[in-house]
């Protein structure tokens, strides 16, 4: 029994030593680009702008932690989603980025959100252009 007594301590030390390392810096990742086929996808809910309110609800539940409650303000963790750099991207490209995430830059993949709700998120993000 004694020979395993130091195992928890070693595990804790390993975890602490890694935790002490600086986390990967935030910022844009030029290699994070949606494939052409995905970028060309159209938002199937584009003709239903009233569904953007549901997108805002999904946003506050899943995205506001990093992007901020307002979404149109850069935070220390994530970029301004109303910025020209984001809004210049196609609906399909934004949808692809929500779906796949980018774990290198701490953007989770949100494929677990049902597809219609991810398109609602895109609708909501598009509505930020008017509030900027």
């Amino acid at each position: 029994m004694r020979r395993f007594s130091c195992l928890p301590l070693l595990l804790a030390l390993a975890a602490t030593s890694v935790a002490a390392q600086p986390l990967s810096p935030q910022g844009t990742d030029p290699s994070w680009v949606a494939p052409e086929k995905d970028a060309a996808r159209k938002n199937p809910l584009a003709s239903k702008p009233e569904l953007a309110a549901g997108g805002q609800k999904v946003f506050s539940r899943t995205c506001a932690n990093c992007h901020g409650d307002e979404a149109h303000r850069a935070t220390t963790k994530a970029p301004d989603l109303a910025s020209d750099a984001v809004q210049a991207q196609s609906d399909g490209a934004i949808f692809w980025k929500i779906t796949n995430g980018n774990t290198r830059k701490a953007m989770p993949s949100w494929g677990s959100i049902p597809e219609p709700q991810r398109w609602q998120l895109v609708l909501y993000l598009r509505s930020l252009r008017d509030t900027k």
Binding site: M1, P8, N65, A106, S109, Q117, Q120
Partner: protein, 288 residues
């Protein structure tokens, strides 16, 4: 009995203070990783109704889950057990790490899971079911003295399609203090939100706030005797309710399918997420 009720009341109090959103599974893991810098505190509780007049048990489990990066999540579990007309004991702890080797969303998303357990034979939580099983009427007080060091690995495969999540877990477990060989187990899960469209109103009982599904989990014997003989298996409907913007209740009545299974494992849980916990800690200790 008074101890039993005290622990139960404590767990309910903790639950009432909690808030977060969660998948409905209790045993099966999907590809969801904790977000970087977030700490999730959960309380999961299992009531076991046994066969052959064996005593009912209650097993609380506290979980602390932290996201180090987008591809690495760690979790600490503290567990206890209480048995009717017997004892209430702390049964041990588990430390787990999950790694997401592939960036992005795929048709099948693999996750690698490694866990170290320091638990006693009195453990009743059934966090996973592996190896062989037998119904026991031994006292928790006696079993509490039998401590074990165990290593566990899981291959988690998970897919999202048309609003459904389908997850498969393949489990290996090695008890380092007993010569039991390597034990095997599995967990399968499927769930779907009741609505795929989010309504625009702040409603508590909207259909999209409910996720319903099913879990099937059990043991597959060991390297000494592989197969279904003398193993326990459970079929468990699962239901999660996102009661508020960040709070989720979940419940699952699991039905024993074999002679060696408990009659029922009734589980309920609640989760609280501290967002930006890592950066708050850094600031507290003088970091930027």
């Amino acid at each position: 009995m008074r101890r039993f009720l005290t622990i139960f009341a404590l767990m309910l109090t903790l639950a009432a203070a909690a808030r977060a959103q969660e998948k409905p599974y209790f045993v099966t893991y999907d590809q969801t990783m904790e977000e970087k810098g977030n700490l999730e505190i959960s309380s999961e509780n299992t009531f076991g109704l046994q066969k052959q007049g064996l005593p009912t048990f209650y097993a609380p489990l506290g979980e602390f889950e932290y996201g180090w990066t987008g591809w690495w999540t760690s979790e600490l579990y503290l567990e206890g057990a209480s048995q009717h007309n017997d004892a209430t004991v702390f049964t041990g702890y588990r430390i787990e790490n999950r790694f997401k080797p592939l960036n992005g969303e795929h048709k099948i998303n693999p996750i690698l899971y490694f866990e170290y357990e320091r638990i006693s034979e009195a453990s009743r939580i059934n966090k996973e079911v592996v190896g062989h099983a037998e119904l026991s009427n031994e006292s928790l007080r006696d079993l509490h003295g039998e401590k074990a060091h165990e290593l566990e690995g899981k291959l988690i495969l998970s897919s999202n399609a048309k609003g459904w999540n389908i997850s498969e877990n393949f489990i290996l477990e090695k008890n380092l203090t007993e010569d039991e060989g390597v034990e095997f187990g599995y967990a399968l899960g499927v769930y779907r939100p009741l609505s795929l469209i989010a309504s625009g109103t702040n409603c508590h009982f909207c259909r999209e706030n409910f996720k319903a599904g099913m879990e099937l989990y059990g043991g597959l014997g060991s390297t000494q005797q592989f197969g279904f003989e003398d193993t326990a298996h459970y079929l468990a409907p699962v239901l999660a309710w996102h009661a508020g913007e960040n709070s989720t209740f979940k419940v699952s009545p699991g039905f024993g399918l074999t002679h060696n299974s408990s009659r029922m494992l009734i589980r309920f849980g609640y989760t609280y997420e501290i967002q930006g916990f890592g950066s708050k800690m850094k600031r507290m200790f003088g970091g930027k």
